[in-house]
């Protein structure tokens, strides 16, 4: 049993205060999701706003049935695959670039602001610009080629800046030491650098996944013949919006929470094994 010194008590209060603030924060950012959870169980004849007209699993069931307008399942699958590819490329490219930027090189400023331009260029025009180019050379756009290209342009600066933050004040002496002991660059990277920057790489990849999965404007002219999920949802709004969307949202939230739970469990088990 810990003794409650005034010092400890003060610390506990501060921690308690922050914890309460965190909970309020979570409630705040989950705000509209609460209505979404509830309405996903809307009755058969209800819609996407209150009042509830009964309670049912009707819209959850619709989730696995073919949709009326568009193709929810196919679009979801395409968006997930696209987001995963973007995630990997973003993580890879932002690590490479951030490592390059640890040294000075000619044109580094130009490259830096070119990467940043990806953040600033309005998506709909990037889409138009690339679509015009592709038409000139006769390459048809597709979600896995042209859309992938502009998605990475969009996500790369996020990952890159995160990696810059990671390498910011990164202690290079460990690497130096490894080099002094004769390790080649690959070994240095694998054994020393990589373990230190892994959380950053994960974060960069997460940015990539999240931003790509949700990207609409950049995809409009570049998805080709098959819609990604945002395009599909956008199309479905030309009809009555059905609570199926809310079932999808709730399902993806539950899935994400499950993944976080899984992460906790796996991480705990791994730590136990390595201890």
């Amino acid at each position: 049993m810990a003794r409650w010194t005034p010092e400890r008590r003060k610390k506990a209060w501060i921690k308690g205060g922050f914890s309460v603030y965190y909970v309020i924060f979570i409630l705040f950012i989950y705000g509209p999701m609460i209505a979404m959870f509830v309405l996903s169980f809307q009755g058969r004849r209800g819609g996407t706003s209150f009042p509830m007209r009964g309670v049912s699993l009707h819209w959850w069931q619709k989730l696995i049935e073919p949709s009326t307008v568009g193709d929810l399942q196919g679009a979801l699958l395409r968006s997930l695959v696209l987001a995963l590819i973007v995630m990997v490329i973003t993580a890879l490219f932002s690590t490479m670039l951030a490592m390059a930027f640890r040294k000075r090189f000619t044109g580094s400023n130009v490259l830096f602001y070119t990467v940043m331009a990806g953040l600033m260029i309005p998506g709909i025009l990037l889409s138009l610009g690339l679509a015009s180019l592709l038409r000139q050379v006769g390459i048809p756009p597709a979600w896995y080629s042209s859309a992938l290209g502009v998605h990475v342009v969009w996500t790369l600066p996020f990952g890159f800046l995160v990696m810059m933050a990671v390498f910011n004040r990164f202690d290079g002496r460990l690497e130096e030491a490894a080099r002094d002991m004769g390790a080649d660059e690959w070994t240095v990277f694998k054994e020393v650098t990589l373990p230190l920057i892994t959380p950053g790489i994960v974060a960069a990849g997460l940015f990539g996944f999240t931003l790509s999965y949700d990207e609409f404007a950049r995809t409009t002219l570049l998805a080709g013949e098959f819609n990604t999920l945002p395009l599909d949802i956008n199309a479905s709004m030309t009809q009555r919006i059905r609570p199926t969307l809310f079932a999808l949202g709730t399902a993806s939230t539950l899935f994400s929470l499950l993944m976080i739970g899984l992460f906790l469990v796996i991480y705990t088990l791994l730590m136990r094994r390595f201890r």
Partner: protein
Amino acid sequence: MTARKPTDTSKTKRTGMSRRTFMGTTAGAVAAGSVVGGFPSIGHGAETLRTIGLGVSVINEIQGKASQDLGLKVRGQALGYGAMFGKMLNQNDQYEIAEGYFNDMDVFIPAKVWQPIDTQRIRDWDKVTNLAKTGKLTPDSNAGQGDAPFRHLWLDADGNRVDGPSRYISMLPGWHNADSLGYNPEETGRDIESWADLFSEEFKGQVALLNVPQIGTMDAALAIEAMGAYTFKDKGNMTREEIDFLIKFLIERKKEGHFRAFWETFGQSVNLMVSGEVAVQSMWSPAVTAVKAEGVPCIYAFPKEGMRGWHGGLAISAKVTGKQLDAAYEYLNWWLDGWAGAFVARQGYYMSVPENVKKHLEPEEWDYWYMGKPAAKELPDPFDTIIVEKGEVRDGGSYWDRFSNIAVWNSLMDENDYLVKRWTEFLSA
């Protein structure tokens, strides 16, 4: 399906397989190759016809049925309005059929992205009503101002406009409707019979307007005229002075807090009404049906000044030739045959060939949707959900009543750039 291999070689290894799996799930009803309803079978699934449009006409059931009947693969890509418009204009090599709208013809005809359609290849061309051909559904109809279909229909063989009728047309007239005000009688406490009520003081803070500059201004113009505040020479093609007056008027109303919101999509307008946010708003007739289906009272006004019409149709990309062109014409002919018309009728849209649609509707459905009579029994939407109770009457009367009194059609004005600029000022005021 195999006709369209991904040309991108950089990642075929990775995505080639997943793409095929996707196709499997996307396909829906794949052409069974059966010959139904006397349609000649073309290519037995070897041909793929790509069609793009809004969720109004690009609906899996419709293209699935077309695939089945025609023995070819018709694959629809539904898009939102902006995405659809951009793709139609800039990527006519990405689709064979464009399920477009006549009010965009000022863009599409001069852009020549679509090819003139030969009416001699349209089997039921004679059955298409005069609404799209002359603007007069009945002999004493009011053709209405603005981009009425008949003003954008007739072309020569090279795709240039001519004064009709001629052999070639820009787009095969298809589904259409007339919009007006939708209102919740419990909130308004009275009937609404004039566009003027859009700006009525008593509904202050409970009004929504369509946030598409070209159409929102027309609803506002109809209301302003109905109030007697101003007369526009042509609401479908306003002058700068008229636009200035209109925007000034709107800004004043906005500053008074008259508008609750501006909506952009069908779904948004339904939600605004169902959730009780607004009492009156410019609205589409099927959206009113959707509100009622969710148990909220909603009436589709039949204003004495007339309604605002819009007309969709089917166009063929300029890039389509040979066998694909034959297939495209078959798809167009299939649309006119009535099955698709009956399908969209159950959502509240009308089709340019009522006599063919009638063959595919039950008599009670025909009476309710087209004739404006009370429903003799419960009626379903196309997905077998009951949306009309027995005894209900469709607001706005019969098809012929509605379309003989169109005040103005959705339009693209000559001063479009100026309009968008002033609309921007209105919204930021």
